[in-house]
C-alpha cells in the first residue's frame, strides 16, 4: 500500500471541504472495497477522509410514506430494518445476496453504490485496462470475458457493476442525495448516478469530484409484488453472473452492464400486455455477445420471467 494521510471527518460539510482542498483525496466509509483495491495498488489515494462516523447511519420515515436511508447505514442494518423487510423486501433480498456477513456488517449504503467492478482485467495490474489505466486498452474484449456486460458496453470497456443492492434500488426508483464541495445539496434518480463506459470507463459516475453521497431515498412502495433473483457460480458469497429485481412493473438487471440496468423495453412490453418471456426477448434484442459471455443472454431470458412470475404471485397475496 502506498503512503497516504488520514483524517476523520466530524461533519459532512467538513468532509466535502477537505475533499476539495486536498489533491487525490478519497472518502473512506466501510473500506471493504477501497482498502482491498489500495492493497492491490489499483487505487492509490494520497489522502483518506474517513466519513464512517458521520451521523448519517439512520433509516428514517419520510413524510410521504417512503424511507430515507443514511449513506453510512451498513448493508446489514438496512437489510434487517423491519420497515425495509415488510415494505421493500426486494431490497433486503438483494443486500443479503451480496458479500458475506462480515462484509455486510462493514459495508455502507453509499460505499456499496460506489464499489468498483470485479472484472479480472481491472484487478490484474499486469494487463491492459482502460478503467484502471486510461488509454491502455481492454484486456477483456477478446479475453476471458465470461462475466462481462451484454448491455451498453463500448470498445473501451465491457466491465459490469457488481452491486446487488443497487439493482433493487434501481427497480424501486430510489433517489440519491448528495452534498457537493461548494456546500450545495442535490438529489437525482439512482439511474442517473452511474455512467455507461463510452470512451472514459475510468469515470464511473455523474458525481462531481469531492461530492459526497449523504442518503438514498425510497419513494412509497409501489403497488404489486417484489422479487430479487441472482445467478452465480457458487451458492453463496460470489459475485453475480446475472440478477434481476422486479418491483411492480419495473424490471432492473444486475451484473450485465456498467450500471444497474433498467430494462425499459421489457417494462413497456409488459405494460402493453406481452408475456414475461416476450418482454425480456424485446429487451435482449440490444444484447451483445463478446465470445464467452453469450450464455448470459440465455440466462437473463429465463431469469426475468421467473422473477416476474414470483413478483406477481407476491402481489396477488397482498
Amino acid at each position: 500500500v502506498r503512503p497516504f494521510t488520514y483524517e476523520r471527518a466530524t461533519d459532512a460539510a467538513g468532509a466535502v471541504k477537505a475533499a476539495a482542498a486536498t489533491p487525490n483525496a478519497k472518502f473512506l466509509a466501510g473500506g471493504t472495497n477501497l482498502l482491498d483495491l489500495m492493497k492491490l495498488e489499483i487505487e492509490h489515494p494520497a489522502h483518506l477522509i474517513d466519513v464512517g462516523r458521520l451521523p448519517m447511519a439512520q433509516v428514517e420515515d419520510t413524510p410521504d410514506g417512503g424511507l430515507r436511508i443514511g449513506a453510512m447505514a451498513t448493508n446489514s442494518h438496512v437489510a434487517a430494518d423491519a420497515r425495509v423487510r415488510s415494505r421493500y423486501p426486494v431490497l433486503t433480498q438483494a443486500i443479503v445476496a451480496g458479500g458475506s456477513g462480515q462484509l455486510r456488517n462493514k459495508a455502507t449504503t453509499g460505499g456499496n453504490l460506489l464499489q468498483r467492478t470485479r472484472c479480472a482485467y481491472f484487478y490484474d495490474t499486469t494487463k491492459p485496462c482502460n478503467k484502471r489505466q486510461p488509454g491502455s486498452g481492454c484486456g477483456a474484449l477478446e479475453g476471458l470475458n465470461r462475466n462481462s456486460a451484454i448491455f451498453g458496453a463500448s470498445h473501451a470497456c465491457i466491465a459490469t457493476h457488481p452491486s446487488d443492492m443497487a439493482v433493487a434500488l434501481a427497480a424501486l426508483d430510489a433517489r440519491i442525495e448528495t452534498l457537493s464541495p461548494s456546500g450545495e445539496a442535490r438529489a437525482f434518480p439512482i439511474i442517473e448516478l452511474h455512467r455507461l463506459p463510452g470512451e472514459t470507463p475510468d469515470v464511473e459516475t455523474h458525481l462531481i469530484p469531492g461530492e459526497l453521497i449523504t442518503a438514498v431515498v425510497l419513494p412509497p412502495p409501489p403497488k404489486g409484488g417484489q422479487a430479487y433473483r441472482k445467478v452465480r457460480d457458487r451458492a453463496s458469497y460470489s459475485a453475480g453472473l446475472a440478477s434481476v429485481a422486479v418491483v411492480g412493473g419495473a424490471v432492473a438487471l444486475g451484473a450485465v452492464a456498467h450500471k444497474p440496468w433498467r430494462a425499459v423495453e421489457a417494462e413497456s412490453a409488459l405494460a402493453a400486455g406481452a408475456s414475461p418471456a416476450e418482454a425480456i426477448a424485446a429487451e435482449l434484442k440490444a444484447a451483445s455477445d463478446n465470445g464467452r459471455n453469450g450464455f448470459k443472454i440465455n440466462l437473463v431470458s429465463r431469469l426475468v420471467p421467473a422473477a416476474v412470475e414470483e413478483a406477481r404471485q407476491q402481489g396477488r397475496g397482498e
Partner: protein, 168 residues
C-alpha cells in the same frame, strides 16, 4: 497516528502508520497472533474479529478507523485454562484439522449467533417478517464468509449448532 482501541477489555494505545490494518495492529503491534492472516483480501474470513460485538474482516479495516472501539479477538473469547463453550464445542466435535481458520470461524460464529438472536435475515430466510430459526441451511449460508480448506464444514456446523441453544 495515535489511536486507542480497547482489546479484550483492556485499553491499548497505539501509534501506527495509517496504512496499518486492524489485523496487522493486533498481530504485529500488540502480539495477539491468535487472529490469522489468510488471504488479506476479505475472502477467507480467517481474520474475523468482533468490533463492538459485530463480526468484521480485520484485514479490510485500518487500525486508525477503530479509535475508541472495543475489539474482541480469539484471545478474549477464552484461554487454554478456561475455554469458552464454543471453543470446547470445536474440540468435542473435531471441527478442525490444521486449525488455521478456527479463530476466525469461532469469532464469526459468535457474531453470527448474535445476528440470529437479533433476527437479522439472510438469503436463506423465507419469510422476512417471521422469527428466524437457525436451520443447517441458515447456518451454512451465514458462515459462508469463513473458508475451511481442510473442509471440516460438517463438524463446524455441528459445533456451532451444539452451542446455538434455542436459536436452532
Amino acid at each position: 497516528l495515535k489511536t486507542t482501541i480497547t482489546v479484550n477489555g483492556e485499553a491499548r494505545e497505539l501509534d501506527v502508520d495509517p496504512r496499518t490494518t486492524l489485523l496487522d495492529a493486533l498481530r504485529e503491534t500488540l502480539g495477539l497472533t491468535g487472529t490469522k492472516k489468510g488471504c488479506d483480501h476479505g475472502q477467507c474470513g480467517a481474520c474475523t474479529v468482533l468490533v463492538n460485538g459485530v463480526r468484521i474482516n480485520s484485514c479490510l479495516s485500518l487500525a486508525v478507523m477503530h479509535d475508541g472501539d472495543a475489539v474482541t479477538t480469539i484471545e478474549g473469547v477464552g484461554t487454554v485454562g478456561k475455554l469458552s463453550a464454543i471453543q470446547q464445542a470445536f474440540l468435542t466435535e473435531d471441527a478442525f484439522q490444521c486449525g488455521y481458520c478456527t479463530p476466525g470461524q469461532i469469532c464469526s460464529a459468535l457474531g453470527m449467533l448474535q445476528e440470529v438472536a437479533d433476527n437479522w435475515p439472510s438469503q436463506e430466510t423465507g419469510d422476512l417478517t417471521a422469527q428466524i430459526r437457525l436451520t443447517d441451511d441458515e447456518l451454512r449460508e451465514r458462515m459462508s464468509g469463513n473458508i475451511c480448506r481442510c473442509s471440516a464444514y460438517p463438524q463446524i456446523v455441528a459445533a456451532i449448532k451444539s452451542v446455538a441453544g434455542e436459536l436452532a
